[in-house]
Assembly symmetry: C4
């Protein structure tokens, strides 16, 4: 055990699958059965559910996002042969954010018109995307990628990740505008830089 730290990939994948499955299912715990004055009134229940429409909408949107992140993570992880300590720390940070996501969803579902709730939600989303990109970048740097995968394909995948970050930054501009103009400009500049970086990676 004085050897450098290595973890078998299958172990991490079981934990990742477990955490994603639970985070996806826990989202629904935020949906509360509404209290009705007349328990038999179909209209009252329907309008109560429609009133909670933003929570239900946030539920399905967040479920979809988690599913996308799960698929993305597995496509990246499938290219690795082993996990070293930095990769593991990065993956754990990612999972912490994934587990935090139901809370951010509940905040946004409860206060859909509140800028702070939107900010927390978008930050968690952004951190997840950032950590996924970082995860793959560390894997490339530490030569953890399987030999059977062409270098060109690895770089293409990395460029795609960076482009994903760029798209997220640009998509955040409307949200940032609700905060103030400087945040929006910052998002725009960051997005532009990332687009430029992604182009650099795919050319090299």
């Amino acid at each position: 055990m004085s050897k450098p730290f290595r973890l078998h990939r299958a172990r991490l994948e079981t934990l990742v699958d477990g955490v994603f499955a639970i985070a996806m299912t826990i989202l629904v715990l935020e949906l509360k059965v509404p209290e009705l004055i007349d328990p038999r009134s179909a209209n009252e229940l329907m309008s109560a559910l429609a009133h909670h429409g933003s929570v239900i909408g946030a539920y399905f949107f967040s479920f979809g996002m988690l599913a996308v992140f799960w698929i993305w993570h597995h496509r990246l992880a499938a290219t690795l042969h082993e996990i070293d300590l930095s990769l593991l720390v990065c993956a754990i940070a990612l999972l912490a954010m994934v587990c935090f996501f139901p809370f951010a969803t509940a905040l946004l579902g409860r206060y859909p018109t509140n800028v702070s709730a939107l900010l927390v939600y978008v930050s968690v989303l952004g951190l997840i995307i950032l950590l996924q990109t970082l995860f793959f970048r560390i894997a490339i740097r530490h030569r953890m990628i399987l030999d059977t995968i062409l270098k060109k394909e690895v770089l293409a995948a990395h460029a795609k990740n960076v482009r994903g970050c760029a798209i997220f930054c640009l998509a955040c501009i409307p949200t940032a505008l609700r905060l103030n103009i400087y945040a929006a400009i910052g998002c725009g500049i960051l997005g532009g830089l990332l687009v430029w970086r992604a182009r650099g990676i795919s050319r090299s």
Copy 2:
């Protein structure tokens, strides 16, 4: 990674098992310990539990339904060799419905005499059945079925799925009648069409 999207079947099955296991267990979270005036009164507790009988009944019925869906999904998934993007999207939508199911159960358990609650519950059930049938249909269309399985068997399984949809439609007629007569007629016609379609598939 410019290759067409493919996911290993085992990956999806782990997520499916996780989500089903959690959704089944989360059903029980809707059962609340009743508040008693006299904590030592055995009769009061029994009558409180009997009063919550509809919730407990809804719990066991929903648990059984989820178990049936889980077995059904695995029997279908066992015939696939790989998962492509459309199949994955269909499976994710199915899982979203499965995770939503405990909420629908809680609604129905809380308001057993409310038509809207019944409607939400039946819709979620219907969507799960529909998505399962669609899942297998896409698999057939995209030639994802294992070569070791005879074409006749595949068609028989598909016909069985469509027949399941038909039975569900016909079983919905009493519920639809509580809404209005047109919904009931619609259910009847849809059920009839599906029976006819199932017969067509098993003959071809």
Copy 3:
């Protein structure tokens, strides 16, 4: 798929592991953070926790029981080569009881002096033990046991299960006495019959 129903053992084991892991963890959700008048008072918190001692005790006892059932199930399941429909139905009923167990624990933890709460708890325990024994009995009847296991060992395991049921019945007598004398006598007779049956199995 017109072949008799068969499910791969590994599939069921994943679901069983998932359900047990979640039921064990959900037990803790019944432990509520007590409300304190003075948030800094160490004594008040300690006495509040001591007051909730029965809940915490019920938690650890139930956790231990679930762990025992999990080990027991896997030792039985490890002797099977396949799962047929009756075994699957039996296993699903077992899982439904396992998922219901946290609720029964919460009832007992909340009302430790209430006979009805004890009755519900003991009934769920009894059903789990019964279903495990039934599970193995069906497996023997339907010849699902692996050929590598000696018939003598299989019978010894079955006798052990029946003896477990007998011990449970006898251990229930004090609880049944709190209900009425006839229930206690019934438990005693049933326990005696099961002891006698277990002896019969191990002799054959």
Copy 4:
């Protein structure tokens, strides 16, 4: 089945992964969406979240601790070839503590200035560390370690575990001081003894 009790390692690892994944995710259930007077006020939500800062901090810290324990457990478990009964009991006790951990976190997050809450939290942490060390010690005693692992490495790992216990004891001194001086001295002495023991193990 009259053979000595043996459990396949993979079975235990699935349960461990499941329990850890759920305990990590359940931590977030303690984070409650704050109630706002003005639902659109961004400042009010931010200050409410900042007010709950200790809960959010406790969440991330506890998530990290669970991740560390999970990695630690798997590194130890990877050296075993089988699980006997004592190891299993030790692992189950460890899992009971892991499942109890979200409750201890909720207590500390709710009452961060309360000595009793800190005491419960630190005790659970300490028990987890102790049980891990015990787990590996039993494995060494019962010769469950894989033959491919050098005796020197096994002892180094054990010494590392004992040193972990020592560091924990020494790190507890400030907490113990808040209780009373004798507890602090006890922690110091225990820590010293463990450091000395760890040195003894690594020398032998």
